[in-house]
């Protein structure tokens, strides 16, 4: 070699030798230029090759397989065996652990409200696309029996507390304290979990909030709004963290000069509590509610050293804001806001750069005092991402990670032995390598495994977030799909929402597995036994939809849910939109009612009328289809106006029927249609010994019509039952015939001949029965009698009309005792058990309104919705509630109809030419 380049060559050679020597020498890792060459981990040769040869020449795929990355392709398949193996290896409880099958009932979506369910289903679709998975929480064991079997699983205190909330047997909130890193700081993941838990179990308030937001920009979460700029903020993640002062809340907000203020929106909170530090210096905090001074507390310590302390303030009802003004030398840690009512309070503390070691920096006494004071039912630990990062930088070791997490879990368990704890594994992340390739960040799985073991040993439950996300390599798929930020570590909002969705459902499944149903009856959602019970109706609807000029009649009988007309109006509108509108159908004779306004029907009565109803009368007697009758003295008149304010122009031919009673000694009725008197009808055949139903029919043209019935002077009283309007055009006629407070027994007790005659005149193809809610409220209901009478009623009416039938089960009926506690209506379980049997025996389809509402304690959730869906009586629904239930009914009915059509299609085609 030429001498001239020798000097440079020697420099290079010595540099390489020195770098290799230092890397292999027994030096602390920070002094090794190439730490991956450590002697204690495998042989040197392959490591050197890996160091020198590019990845593409080593046969390693730096990126995930193309099928996982191609934007238009489905996500990589994840064999079931793989996920099962993960669960089995860590779940001693066998069937409890494992991977829930995707998109099947039981993944935890059951009792979400419609809007939340809609967004949850979108996230489910996203989960499918991304290859993310439903992974069950590994419950582990927090308390073992003497024989080694598990007495209490790791989540038991939490699921038990949720059960108490569900049963309304708890007067205090269920608190969750969720500690974590930057994934928690943005609050997106926890927001999803919080909102859904609060929707299911009620809200106990906003929970723990910082004095001021930790970052000037970004999402304003979980903090007050500082009215001054002089707060000094010190965090456990800072290089100079606040030593020996801060607990799990992680951040100290201190003042030492001019007074500093902050403000909170109360959002219905009735109790506020300040978390602060007492210290040997003068300081005070003045509370103000809606600007008016309230309590003032001194923060000076009685003890010689600083201690975590708390000050509670009861807030007046309706208060809007709470302000704090700290003067002197103070250190505040945060404020909790709670409603004081039972419900979920979900505290989140997320520190950017948070890890187990960071939370261990908290003063142990303050950590314990603050956590005990909070009385959480569950503590969630969501760290690990930064541990994995530091491992990849060799700034920490697996042993250190294990030690620190073990210490944190122990500290949490020691501080709140009665609380459950849940450890989450870190999520998957990516890095760009020295050669610019995107690869999976190492160590996430290792840290996750350590956390799994630490959780098991510490008696905590464990959730494998990494597996739920889709396993190692999923971060790169998430990046491609725009669910991960370009930093390859932090999920974007949609990604966070998906993680929150998966965690929430995992919690929900864990709760469902441990929760004994309050009503121990199978109450399945959806339309049951539609095939073959509704075959004729569906066939006729299909012919109608195929263009045949058919009328399809549906008559719904029931109690107040039907009498309210909101449900039936919504169902009628939906069906008419698809199959055509053939008229309003039957309206019972009665007083003016705003419930009919939405259907453009107006009733009016003048003169001496008495409206009688069947449930307050002795058995027997002629009643209208709704179980009422209007008895008018001479001189009285009533009118029923159909289609008020309907647009002119469309003038279909139609038929207006008037239902009345011929009885001995009764006066002849004078009828006008649209103001025109109609000829008097021939008197009833003589001799008339018993009342009979007379149905008179008048041809009409146009949409809107008014029928007026008058009882002439000088005669006897007369009874009117109702009127019906139909158009001679193809479509649906949906009759609503409800009597508030009625039961199946009420209907059964009415004169059968008269009722069946009227019902047959309505020419129904389908009879819908919605009794049961009132039966559920009866103490000591005779279920056998209900079964017998209801079956007989339905069978009889079916014979009289030739119609098919569908029975709707009761809504979720609750009652409130003197202490304010809600419990199930006394006979709800009996009704829920009996009605499906009635449907089966009478050959009817069955649809559970309670299951459609969300099942167990759905009424409470419907009451809590905004706007409310359930009324405070625990029985009835609001207008929005009935409309939402009707939408669910139509959806299930039409799904069954479409499924029937789909099934019939191949047969039809096969039979064709």
């Amino acid at each position: 070699m030429d001498l001239k380049p020798t000097s440079t060559g020697w420099t290079l050679a010595l540099t390489v030798l020195l770098a290799l020597g230092l890397s292999l020498a027994p030096l602390p890792v920070q002094f090794r230029p190439i730490p991956s060459l450590r002697q204690d981990e495998g042989t040197l040769g392959p490591k050197l090759v890996a160091l020198v040869l590019p990845a593409s020449l080593r046969g390693k795929k730096a990126r995930p397989p193309p099928d996982a990355l191609a934007p238009d392709s489905a996500p990589a398949a994840h064999p079931e065996s793989e996920s099962s193996a993960v669960a089995e290896s860590a779940a001693p409880e066998g069937p409890d652990a494992g991977v829930a099958p995707a998109a099947v009932p039981g993944i935890g979506l059951e009792d979400l409200s419609a809007p939340t369910l809609a967004s949850a289903l979108e996230l489910e679709a996203l989960r499918e696309r991304m290859g993310a998975r439903h992974v069950d929480i590994e419950l582990n064991c927090r308390k073992a029996r003497a024989d080694g079997t598990c007495e209490e699983d790791g989540l038991a205190p939490f699921t038990r507390a949720l059960g108490e909330l569900r049963a309304d047997a708890r007067r205090t909130p269920v608190r969750v304290v969720h500690l974590g890193d930057s994934l928690v700081a943005s609050d997106y993941i926890t927001d999803v979990v919080r909102e859904r838990l609060q929707e299911r179990f009620g809200s106990g308030g906003r929970g723990f909030l910082y004095i001021h937001r930790l970052a000037q920009a970004g999402r304003a979460t979980r903090a007050g709004t500082a009215s001054t700029e002089g707060w000094k903020m010190e965090r456990l993640v800072d290089t100079n963290w606040p030593k020996d002062r801060v607990g799990w809340t992680g951040v100290a907000f201190s003042t030492s000069g001019p007074a500093q203020g902050t403000r909170y929106a109360l959002d219905g909170a009735r109790v506020a509590e300040l978390y602060f530090l007492t210290q040997p210096a003068n300081g005070a905090v003045q509370f103000a509610v809606d600007g008016k001074p309230a309590q003032r507390i001194q923060t000076r310590a009685i003890a010689s050293k600083p201690e975590a302390a708390f000050a509670r303030l009861t807030l007046p009802e309706g208060a809007k804001t709470l302000s704090l003004l700290a003067s002197g030398k103070t250190e505040l840690h945060g404020v909790t806001l709670e409603t004081g009512a039972p419900g979920i309070v979900y505290d989140t503390v997320g520190l950017l750069g948070g890890m187990a070691e960071v939370y261990l920096r908290a003063q142990p006494a303050a950590f314990r005092a603050q956590l005990r004071h909070r009385k959480p039912s569950l503590v969630v630990l969501m760290v690990g991402g930064n541990e994995a990062f530091f491992l990849s930088r060799e700034r920490t070791t697996l042993d250190e990670v294990r030690t620190q997490m073990t210490a944190l879990v122990a500290r949490v368990r020691e501080a709140t032995p009665e609380a459950a704890c849940l450890v989450l594994s870190p999520i998957d992340a990516g890095v760009r390598t020295m050669s610019g390739e995107l690869v999976t960040r190492r160590h996430s799985a290792e840290v996750g495994q350590i956390f799994r073991e630490v959780a098991r040993e510490g008696g905590c439950a464990f959730y494998d977030t990494l597996a739920a996300m889709g396993g190692e390599g999923s971060a790169l798929r998430w990046l491609e799909a725009g669910l991960l930020l370009e930093d390859l570590v932090h999920p974007r909002v949609r990604g966070s929402n998906l993680l929150g969705h998966l965690l929430d459902l995992a919690l929900q499944r864990a709760f469902a597995r441990r929760h004994a149903p309050l009503v121990n009856v199978e109450d399945d959602p959806g339309l049951q036994n539609a095939d073959p019970s509704l075959a004729g109706t569906f066939a006729k609807l299909h012919r109608r939809e195929s263009g045949e000029a058919l009328r399809v009649g549906i008559a719904q009988l029931g109690a107040s849910h039907t009498a309210a007309h909101i449900f039936t109006d919504a169902v009628r509108e939906a069906l008419a939109k698809r199959f055509g509108d053939a008229g309003r159908g039957f309206i019972s004779a009665g007083k003016a009612s705003p419930r009919l306004d939405a259907g453009h029907v107006v009733r009016a009565m003048t003169g001496p009328w008495t409206v009688e109803d069947a449930k307050e009368s002795p058995p027997g007697g002629i009643w209208g289809l709704s179980g009422t009758r209007a008895v008018g003295a001479p001189g009285a008149s009533l009118s029923i106006q159909f289609c008020k304010d309907c647009p002119a122009g469309d003038a279909p031919a139609g038929r207006l029927d008037v239902y009345a009673v011929d009885q001995p000694g009764a006066g002849a009725l004078e009828v006008t249609v649209d103001g025109e008197p109609v000829p008097a009808e021939a008197p009833p055949p003589e001799p008339l010994t018993a009342p009979t139903v007379r149905i008179r029919s008048f041809p009409v043209t146009g949409l809107g019509h008014t029928v007026r019935v008058s009882v002439p002077e000088g005669g006897g009283s007369a009874t009117v039952l109702g009127a019906a309007l139909e158009y001679e055009r193809p479509g649906i006629v949906y009759d609503a015939m409800g009597l508030p407070g009625a039961t199946a027994f009420t209907a059964k007790a009415m004169d059968a001949t008269a009722l069946d005659t009227q019902l047959a005149a309505r020419r129904p193809d389908l009879l819908v029965y919605w009794y049961g809610t009132n039966e559920a409220g009866e103490e000591g209901l005779d279920a056998a009698a209900l079964h017998q009478d209801y079956t007989a009623l339905v069978s009889r009416m079916r014979r009289a009309t030739g119609a098919e039938c569908l029975i709707i089960g009761p809504t979720d009926r609750l009652r409130q005792d003197a202490t304010g506690r809600w419990t199930e209506a006394p006979s709800l379980a009996k009704v829920l058990a009996t009605l499906p049997q009635v449907a089966k025996d009478a050959g009817c389809a069955y649809w559970s309104a309670r299951a459609a509402m969300g099942g167990e304690r759905a009424m409470q959730r419907w009451q809590r919705q905004e706007p409310p869906l359930g009324l405070t009586d625990g029985v009835h629904l609001t207008q929005t509630g009935y409309e939402r239930l009707a939408a669910a009914f139509v959806k299930d009915l039409m799904s069954a109809y479409d499924a029937t059509n789909k099934k019939a299609e191949p047969t039809a085609r096969a039979g064709g030419p």
């Binding site: 380049p5 290079l12 020198v52 930020l485 390859l488």
Partner: protein, 471 residues
């Protein structure tokens, strides 16, 4: 295998040893360099090597054709064929998709169908640099500024020479190919300076650029709405610095490695953010590209020697095309266009008010500030993935949201280092280089290992590819 990776350093050491072992033999040293260059490129992706091989073959035949004919028309035809074939490569692999998308959006109102599916063409790494360098050679031969007597393998090595093949600098034939036949030399001082240059490049890239990139630029540009206006402004400044330290760091490594083999590349940067006006900025920024655009586009268009409107047109044309050279996206044309408008404005100012030969310190400061501000603001378009994103970034930056909580102390520190390193007198750099050169070999090795340790501790884990690799 990026040039700041350990694999690359190992590769360079191996090639260095082989090259100097045979450097006295022309064929052997050519073989070493050519084989190393082919290997280096093939590690990225081998397929484009066939394209380059075909391109060099065509160009070589045309160059030989020019050498064998005296007919000006034929020579012109050959050079035009060379330009067309090279630009055809660029258009086909780089701009076809852009043209398709543009045609789809422009012709949609007239219901004219254009292919809806993307072409999915692979953009060969370094194609833009390859094409410009190829054109420079054939045009130089046509102009008589470069020799046509080089062999095919010399031509091929000139185009594929590994220190510069992926991201330049664009080297003229006179600066590289002309020296292939000379027996190389490397004095101890030159070798030490080359190593120093590589080390400086690594520091620029791995410490300053990558820390700024991953510390603030990526997160803020990724979701500007999550940051305050001040943080967006800091991110824009940080990106401006990142881009300089990234590309000049790469250039330093390329020049240092080339120098280890006895080749001297022209400088690519001359502290551009100290420019007092935009013309000076472009004379200091990516100088190999700027001078190419000047020599092969601006001057052929007429340069400054035409009417004033034509000069402005020429400036606009050069800047818009120069912008588009960076990427197949109209935002690069917008970025170049804005610079073109600004250059025209400066030119007009000089025409109407006269150019001050020796401006005072206040004027210098104002000029530097205005130039830097314009560069920072236009960098947003350069960095953002699309114009919508850029608009969102500008909107956020101007929203007046205060706060700098998300700017980490390390980022502040690195911005300070970046500014200081940019502004410090060149003499300090030269003194440092001299100190390194004068070190005994073992001390120099210790210094390099310490530097490596420092880089290991200060750099980010998420080592990022060079920004200009995408161009």
């Amino acid at each position: 295998m990026l040039s700041h990776s350990l694999q690359y350093l190992a590769f360079v050491i191996a090639v260095f040893a082989a090259y100097w072992a045979v450097h006295r033999h022309y064929a052997a040293r050519m073989f070493v360099l050519l084989a190393a260059s082919v290997y280096f490129y093939a590690v990225f992706t081998p397929f484009p090597l066939l394209i380059f091989l075909a391109g060099v073959t065509v160009d070589h035949l045309l160059v030989k054709g020019m050498a064998r004919t005296d007919s000006p028309g034929t020579r012109k035809l050959f050079v035009v064929l060379s330009i067309v074939s090279n630009l055809g490569l660029l258009a086909g692999f780089k701009y076809l998709e852009l043209l398709r998308k543009t045609a789809v959006s422009l012709l949609a109102p007239w219901h004219i169908d254009v292919r809806a599916e993307p072409f999915h063409l692979l953009l060969p790494v370094g194609l833009s640099f390859y094409v410009f360098q190829a054109i420079s050679y054939t045009v130089d031969v046509y102009r008589g500024k470069a020799s046509a007597e080089h062999s095919f393998f010399e031509h091929l090595l000139y185009m594929l020479f590994f220190p510069r093949v992926v991201s330049g600098p664009i080297v003229r034939a006179s600066e590289l190919m002309a020296h292939f036949r000379e027996e190389p030399t490397l004095s101890p001082d030159d070798g030490a300076r080359a190593l120093f240059r590589v080390a400086v490049g690594l520091v620029k890239k791995l410490i300053i650029a990558d820390v700024l990139g991953s510390g603030i630029v990526d997160p803020v540009f990724g979701s500007p709405h999550a940051y305050s206006s001040a943080e967006c402004a800091v991110a824009a400044v940080a990106y401006t610095l990142e881009l300089y330290y990234d590309f000049s760091g790469y250039s330093d490594i390329a020049m240092g490695v080339a120098a280890l083999f006895g080749f001297r590349f022209p400088e690519n940067f001359a502290r551009p953010y100290l420019a007092k006006n935009l013309f000076e900025f472009w004379n200091r920024w990516h100088m190999s590209l700027s001078s190419w655009l000047r020599d092969y586009l601006y001057i052929p268009l007429g340069g400054n020697r035409r009417s004033k409107p034509r000069v402005c047109f020429n400036l606009m044309m050069v800047m818009v095309l120069g912008g588009l050279w960076h990427g197949a996206d109209w935002r690069f044309a917008v970025w170049g266009g804005v610079h073109g408008v600004a250059l025209c404005a400066v030119r007009c100012w000089w025409w109407f008010r006269g150019k001050t030969s020796e401006p005072g310190p206040v004027r210098v400061a104002l000029g530097m500030l205005a130039t830097f501000t314009l560069v920072v603001l236009t960098r947003v378009v350069f960095r953002a993935p699309d114009m919508t994103h850029a608009a969102e970034f500008y909107a956020r930056m101007l929203a007046g949201v205060p706060g700098l909580a998300n700017v980490a102390p390390l980022v502040w520190g690195m911005i300070a280092v970046a500014v200081a390193a940019h502004a410090l007198p060149l003499k300090l750099y030269e003194l440092s280089a001299e100190l390194f050169v004068r070190m005994p070999v073992p001390v120099r090795a210790v210094a390099l290992v310490l530097l490596g340790l420092g880089i290991r501790h200060l750099s980010t884990m998420e080592t990022r590819p060079y920004v200009y690799l995408q161009f």
